[in-house]
Amino acid sequence: MIDKRVASAREAVADVRDGATVMIGGFGEAGSPIELIHALIDQGAKGLTVISNNTGTGLVGLAALLRAGRVRKVICSFPRTAGSTVFPDLYRAGKVELELVPQGTLAERIRAGGAGIAAFYTPTAAGTPLADGKETRAFDGREHVLEHGLRADFTLIKGRVADTHGNVLFHRTARNFAPMMATAAAVTIVQAAEVVQAGTLDPECVVTQGIFVDRVVHVPSPALESALNEAGASYP
């Protein structure tokens, strides 16, 4: 019998080591796995490299992980969303490293990493500062930039429904990076608002397949960054 459920977010992230690379799903607050991130703050791993599109807002979720001083480096496309002050302050103080990647290149690097593709050529960013120092090659007379696949030790994502085999459905634009990130980590952890037995989901509709998922945590009423921020929350 396969049952990937674990009892709590705390248990799910217990083995994240110092210096680990962690992919965290979400575009803004949509899809941000706040309960898993907060469990990671409690767990205490430090020197992390975080791969995520943004850097969080307010003092909760991803911003709280940064504020707790656990992150050495961020790989992302847009680190200064409105309401995001923690990352900009750390960055200006030289306390966190930034690797800025165009959003589509970030998605494709993660997809490639998960799909066993070491690197690929893309026209995106050719002739711009984000191609500086990178190998380039012309295809059909057009310059392309060599970009490397990304892999991680852990991926943390949020689903709407997961089954005991780790098949996942998402909610609207909360899907964003989660399906690729699920494929690209040694250990993929999903928090889901609803967890059902295998055989319940329509196989035609599964978005992320259970083979990519290692642990499923039931988080029945996941918090939203905007609601926490409106309430003036901070974590821990």
Binding site: G28, A30, F78, P79, R80, P102, G104, G127, R172, T173
Partner: protein, 229 residues
């Protein structure tokens, strides 16, 4: 204040910000798949002529995006690339980021409308960073959009708040992409980017050619069919 808040170069001349949006909308064919950049380009959706249906793509994972709901309404996980709550139209579809950027990079989108810091006569675009030392660099999907979408329209004021031309011979800000801009819609004129440089398509009502040329950092060719525009 007036230039910044109204989007006009001078208070009595040219198109308003809404006027530019309306002018852009006239040039988008029925059935187009369109990505509107965050901010001013979003206004274009309000002015699509009756009888035309466009399908809006937002790069965070939705085709068939509809208008934003009233403040406080809507779903916090149904948002656009600017992280504002939106709605979905009949026929909408969700997808992940790799698929979204396959649509963009793979040339499946007909048009992207973007803002600009500078556009050069060779079609180079700078719209993501001024390169200032204290700036937090952020790029999002801009470089992917200009690399992959079939046509890139730029919507912008003709000059900066300080009066400097935004249409220039060569961009001085960090590039978003090389040779990517198809056409510029400013408060003063519609201008194509051609192999020979900027070329006038249309002047805003009441605006003279010389007035536009004086505020442009590179020569503008006059339209071919007629002279003395």
């Amino acid at each position: 204040m007036s230039a910044a808040s109204t989007g006009r170069t001078e208070s009595t001349l040219g198109w308003t910000r809404e006027g530019i949006a309306e002018r852009v909308a006239q040039d988008i064919p029925n059935g187009s798949y369109v990505n509107l950049g965050i901010g001013i380009p979003e206004l274009v959706a309000r002015y699509v002529p009756a009888g035309r249906t466009l399908v809006y793509h937002t790069e965070n994972g939705l085709l068939g995006m509809g208008p934003s709901p009233a403040a406080g309404q809507g779903d916090p996980e149904l948002i656009n690339a600017g992280k504002r709550r939106v709605s979905m139209m009949p026929g909408a579809a969700f997808f992940d980021q790799a698929t979204s950027f396959a649509m963009i990079r793979g040339g499946h989108l007909d048009l992207s409308v973007l803002g600009a810091l500078q556009v050069a006569a060779n079609g180079d675009l700078a719209n993501w960073s001024t390169g200032a030392d204290d700036a937090i660099p952020a790029v999002g999907g801009a470089m992917d959009l200009v690399a992959g979408v079939k046509r890139v329209f730029v919507m912008t004021t003709h000059v900066t708040k300080e009066g400097a031309p935004k249409l220039v011979e060569r961009c001085t800000y960090p590039l978003t992409g090389r040779g990517v801009v198809t056409r510029v819609y400013s408060d003063l004129a519609v201008i194509d980017v051609t192999p020979k440089g900027f070329k006038l398509v249309e002047l805003a009502p009441g605006v003279a050619f010389d007035f536009v040329q004086e505020r442009t950092g590179a020569p503008i060719l006059r339209p071919t069919p007629r002279t003395g525009a």
